[in-house]
C-alpha cells in the first residue's frame, strides 16, 4: 500500500517536530537503552488470566520515544502492513501529547490497542527500524503503540477521525475478525453504511475466541468495537452467512459491496489413532471454551472444560503457546509443548515462547505424537511420541522433520490439545457461485486489490492467506476497503 511521502514530510516538517529533533543528537538518542516491558511475575500470573504485560509508564514511554531518530525516510513504515506513520505517533509521545499520538495511529489503524499487544513487531516494523543497521535493539514501536492507545482509552474520550460525506451505499463485511473490522472502519471513514455479520454471539473473531485474556484482555477488544460503532458501523451477531442469509439475500436488501473475512476456522487434526479420545481437543475448541465461553470460570459460567493435570499441546505456533499457557492457568502440574521441529523453526513469537518457559512449560522439540491411548471410559491416558531429526529444507524454507526409527516412547497425559494449524472455513466459499477457490479452500483474489472473481466481492485475512497474523489480515482489510471504494466510485483500474 503506498504511503504518501508528501504527507509524511508535511507532518515531519512541522515546527514542533524540528524543535524536538534538535533537542537531542542522534548519538544521544541511540545511546539510550531500549525499555523493558513490565510484566507480572510468573508465579503470580499463572494463578489467573490477568494480562501478563502491564504496559509502559508515562516516563518509560517518553524515554523510549526519545530513542526514535525521526528519520527523514522512515524504514520502519515499510515493515508495517497498514503503513502507520510510526515516527509521527512516536514523536507525539515524546512531545507528551499522548492523545494526539493515539489519533495519529487511528488515521491508519482501527485497532491500535490490539496491534500494540499481538503484532509480531520483531518481524515487521521493528525489523526494519534503522537501529537494526546500527546493530542496536530497535525502538520498541509495539510497546509505544500500546501505550498511546491505552492512554486514550483510559481518558474515556475516544477520538473519532474525520468521516467523509455520508453515502447511502450499503456495504457488508462477513465475519468480524481483524480483517473485517479494519475493512469496516475504513469504509465507515469513507462514509459508507457498513454492516458487519458475525456467526457467533460475540464479535471480533479470533480476537475473542482465540487469543487469551492474559495476552489480549477482552475489555480492550470491546472498546475497539465501540470505537467502530461510534464510526457508524452496525453489527449483526448470530448470522451465519451462507446459512441464515445468502449474498443474494443481502443484495436484495440493498447491499452493493461485500468483504469476506471469514477466517481460517477449521481445525486440523493429525488423523492418528486415538485422536477422538476424550480429552483430546483441537486448539480451537480448547481456546474457544476458555476465551469465548469463559470455561475457566465454570461453574459460574455453564461451559465446562477438562482441567488436565498433564497436558500436551501439539504444535509450535502462537496458538500452541496460547493453549499451553492456558493449560498452566487451568491448573496443570505438567504442561508440555510437543513440536516436531526444533525451537529455531517454531513459528511462535519469541516473547510467547519466553513467557511460556517462565511459566514452567516444558518443551519437547523434535518430537511428534503417533498415537493416543485411552482408558476404558475413553479418556486419554498416554501418548506415543517419536523423536525426529532434521533433514533438508522444505517448501517453507524450514528443515524438514524426519522420524527416527525405533525412537518411540510413551508419555502420560490426561489432556491433549492439537494446535497444528487451521484450514479456511468452506461455508461461505461453498455457497457463493462463481467465487474462485484454491485446492486449499482459500479464496483467490487479485493481490493488489483483494478483489475476488466476482467484481463486487472482496476478501482478505485468513480466508485468503490460509493462516497468518492479525496485522496481515488488517492490511488486507484496509487494502480491500480502498479498492472497493475505488470500484464503487468507478475509478477502479480493473483486474
Amino acid at each position: 500500500m503506498p504511503v504518501d511521502p508528501q504527507e509524511l514530510n508535511n507532518d515531519r516538517s512541522q515546527e514542533w517536530r524540528s524543535e524536538l529533533r534538535s533537542r537531542l543528537s542522534a548519538k544521544e538518542r541511540s545511546g539510550l537503552p531500549r525499555v523493558k516491558m513490565p510484566e507480572r511475575a510468573p508465579m503470580e500470573r499463572i494463578l489467573g488470566f490477568m494480562e501478563v504485560n502491564t504496559g509502559l509508564s508515562e516516563e518509560m514511554a517518553v524515554q523510549e520515544s526519545r530513542r526514535c531518530l525521526d528519520c527523514s525516510t522512515p524504514s520502519c513504515i515499510s515493515g508495517c502492513p497498514v503503513n502507520i506513520n510510526i515516527p509521527g505517533f512516536i514523536k507525539r509521545i515524546e512531545k507528551k501529547d499522548f492523545l494526539a499520538a493515539a489519533r495519529k495511529l487511528k488515521e491508519t489503524n482501527a485497532l491500535p490497542a490490539v496491534c500494540g499487544r499481538v503484532c509480531p513487531q520483531e518481524t515487521q516494523c521493528e525489523a526494519t527500524c534503522v537501529y537494526q543497521k546500527m546493530k542496536k535493539p530497535p525502538v520498541a514501536i509495539g510497546y509505544l503503540e500500546r501505550f498511546a492507545s491505552d492512554c486514550e482509552r483510559l481518558t474515556g474520550t475516544i477520538s473519532i477521525p474525520k468521516i467523509e460525506k455520508k453515502k447511502s451505499t450499503r456495504i457488508a463485511a462477513i465475519g468480524s475478525g481483524p480483517a473485517s473490522l479494519t475493512f469496516a472502519g475504513q469504509m465507515a471513514k469513507f462514509g459508507y453504511q457498513v454492516t458487519v455479520f458475525e456467526a457467533l454471539h460475540e464479535l471480533a473473531g479470533v480476537l475473542s475466541y482465540g487469543i487469551p485474556e492474559f495476552r489480549l484482555p477482552k475489555s480492550i477488544v470491546r472498546s475497539e468495537i465501540s470505537y467502530l460503532e461510534a464510526l457508524g458501523v452496525t453489527f449483526e451477531r448470530n448470522v451465519i452467512v451462507g446459512k441464515t442469509l445468502t449474498i443474494d439475500d443481502m443484495k436484495k436488501q440493498g447491499f452493493q459491496g461485500f468483504f469476506i473475512g471469514s477466517g481460517a476456522g477449521l481445525p486440523k487434526f493429525m488423523h492418528i489413532p486415538g485422536e477422538n479420545s476424550i480429552g483430546v481437543y483441537s486448539s480451537n475448541e480448547y481456546l474457544t471454551r476458555v476465551n469465548l465461553m469463559k470455561a475457566y470460570q465454570f461453574p459460574q459460567y455453564d461451559t465446562p472444560i477438562v482441567r488436565g493435570k498433564r497436558v500436551a499441546v501439539i504444535g509450535g505456533g502462537n496458538t500452541a503457546m496460547d493453549s499451553v499457557r492456558t493449560a498452566v492457568r487451568l491448573g496443570a502440574d505438567k504442561a508440555m509443548i510437543v513440536y516436531r521441529r526444533s525451537e529455531q523453526e517454531m513459528p511462535a513469537r519469541i516473547e510467547e515462547v519466553h513467557h511460556a518457559k517462565e511459566e514452567g512449560v516444558e518443551f519437547l522439540t523434535l518430537t511428534n505424537p503417533t498415537e493416543y491411548f485411552a482408558d476404558e471410559s475413553g479418556r486419554v491416558r498416554q501418548m506415543k511420541v517419536q523423536k525426529m531429526g532434521l533433514g533438508a529444507a522444505d517448501d517453507s524454507g524450514r528443515k524438514r522433520p524426519v522420524p527416527i526409527p525405533g525412537s518411540e516412547y510413551l508419555i502420560d497425559v490426561d489432556t491433549v490439545v492439537v494446535g497444528v494449524g487451521t484450514d479456511p472455513n468452506p461455508l461461505i466459499p461453498r455457497t457463493i457461485k462463481g467465487l474462485e477457490v484454491t485446492k486449499w479452500g482459500t479464496i483467490v483474489v487479485n493481490e493488489e486489490t483483494m478483489q475476488t472473481a466476482l467484481p463486487e466481492i472482496f476478501a482478505g485475512g485468513d480466508i485468503v492467506r490460509g493462516g497468518a497474523t492479525v496485522i496481515l489480515a488488517m492490511g488486507d482489510g484496509k487494502k480491500a476497503a480502498e479498492s472497493l471504494d475505488a470500484y464503487l466510485l468507478g475509478k477502479f483500474p480493473g483486474r
Binding site: 454471539h201 451477531r237 451465519i240 446459512k243 487434526f269 488423523h271 476424550i278 465454570f298 471410559s377 468452506p426
Partner: protein, 275 residues
C-alpha cells in the same frame, strides 16, 4: 434476543417452545438445527428445529430437561427471551421418493424425526412410523406423527401403552413383513446403534441423525467429531445425518460422557439456586 411465543410440556421433562427467529424460519429445511444460548453465562447447545412457521417467523424447539442448560430453557415462559439463536445449521435431510420409509423415533428423538418423516411422506413415500418410549407418560408427538403416517407402531419399555418391548421389536416386525427402502433412526445413541444393527441384517439403507456435544456449530471446534466408516467427521457441518451402518456408536457414547462430572456439578449448583 429471541422471544418465546408459547411453551408447553409434552411430558414431565420434555418442553416444546415456539420461538421467534424469522431468518431461521425462512431458511430451515428438515434435518437442520440451531445453536441456542440461554443467557450471558450460558452454554451454546444444539437443538433440532422440530418445525417452522415461515409466515409468523417462528421455529419450534423441543427439549428434554436433563441438566442446567435444558432446565433453563424449559423453564422459560412466553414473553421471555433466549439470548441467542443461530442457524439453520447442518446439512438438510436428502428428501426423495424411494418407496417405503421406516421412521424410527426413540424418546425425545421423535422431535427431530417429525419434520423429516413429514417431508419424506410429502415426497410420496409410504411412511411407517415406529415410536419408542420408556412409558406412556414419556411418549411425545404421537398424534402429530399419526396425522401423516400410513401406519404407527408404538412400543413402550414397560408396556404402559402400545406394545411392550424395545423399539427394535416393532421395527423388526415391519422388516419381516414387507420391503423397506429406507429407514431413519433418531433417538438415544444406544437405540440408534441397535436399530442400525437390525436394519443392516435386512440390508435396509439407514440414516441416523446425531446430537453430539457442540460449541460453535459451524465447523470451528471439532467437539462434535465422530468416526463414520473409519473417518473423522464433524456432526455440525458434515452431518447431523450419517449412514447409520457406518457410525462408531461406542466412541460417540463415550464422547457424550466427556463432561458427565462437570454437568452434575453445574446442575446441582443450579438446582440449589432454585430452591
Amino acid at each position: 434476543m429471541n422471544r418465546i411465543v408459547t411453551k408447553e410440556f409434552l411430558s414431565e421433562n420434555v418442553a416444546k417452545l415456539i420461538v421467534e427467529a424469522p431468518q431461521v424460519a425462512q431458511k430451515q429445511n428438515p434435518g437442520q438445527f440451531v445453536i441456542v444460548r440461554t443467557d450471558e453465562k450460558g452454554e451454546r447447545i444444539p437443538l433440532t428445529i422440530a418445525d417452522a412457521d415461515k409466515k409468523n417467523g417462528t421455529i419450534t424447539l423441543i427439549i428434554q430437561r436433563v441438566g442446567t442448560s435444558s432446565h433453563k430453557i424449559s423453564s422459560l415462559k412466553p414473553g421471555d427471551f433466549l439470548h441467542d439463536v443461530s442457524g439453520p445449521l447442518g446439512r438438510p435431510t436428502h428428501i426423495e421418493k424411494v418407496g417405503t420409509v421406516l421412521a424410527c423415533g426413540g424418546g425425545v428423538g421423535i422431535a427431530p424425526l417429525y419434520p423429516i418423516a413429514r417431508a419424506l411422506k410429502d415426497a410420496g413415500n409410504k411412511l411407517i412410523t415406529v415410536l419408542g418410549a420408556r412409558n406412556r407418560e414419556l411418549l411425545i408427538l404421537e398424534n402429530e406423527m399419526t396425522a401423516f403416517s400410513d401406519e404407527v407402531i408404538v412400543m413402550t419399555d414397560d408396556g404402559s401403552y402400545g406394545r411392550k418391548g424395545l423399539i427394535t421389536v416393532g421395527i423388526e416386525e415391519v422388516l419381516k413383513r414387507e420391503p423397506v427402502h429406507l429407514a431413519v433412526a433418531i433417538g438415544p445413541a444406544v437405540m440408534m446403534k441397535f436399530v442400525a444393527l437390525l436394519t443392516k441384517r435386512y440390508n435396509v439403507p439407514t440414516i441416523a441423525s446425531l446430537n453430539t456435544i457442540m460449541v460453535d456449530g459451524t465447523g470451528m471446534c471439532g467437539a462434535c467429531r465422530v468416526s463414520v466408516g473409519g473417518k473423522t467427521r464433524f456432526v455440525c457441518v458434515d452431518g447431523p445425518e450419517f449412514d447409520a451402518h457406518q457410525i462408531d456408536y461406542d466412541e460417540m457414547m463415550k464422547r457424550l460422557n466427556t463432561y458427565k462430572e462437570e454437568e452434575k456439578i453445574s446442575y446441582d449448583g443450579y438446582l440449589k439456586t432454585l430452591s
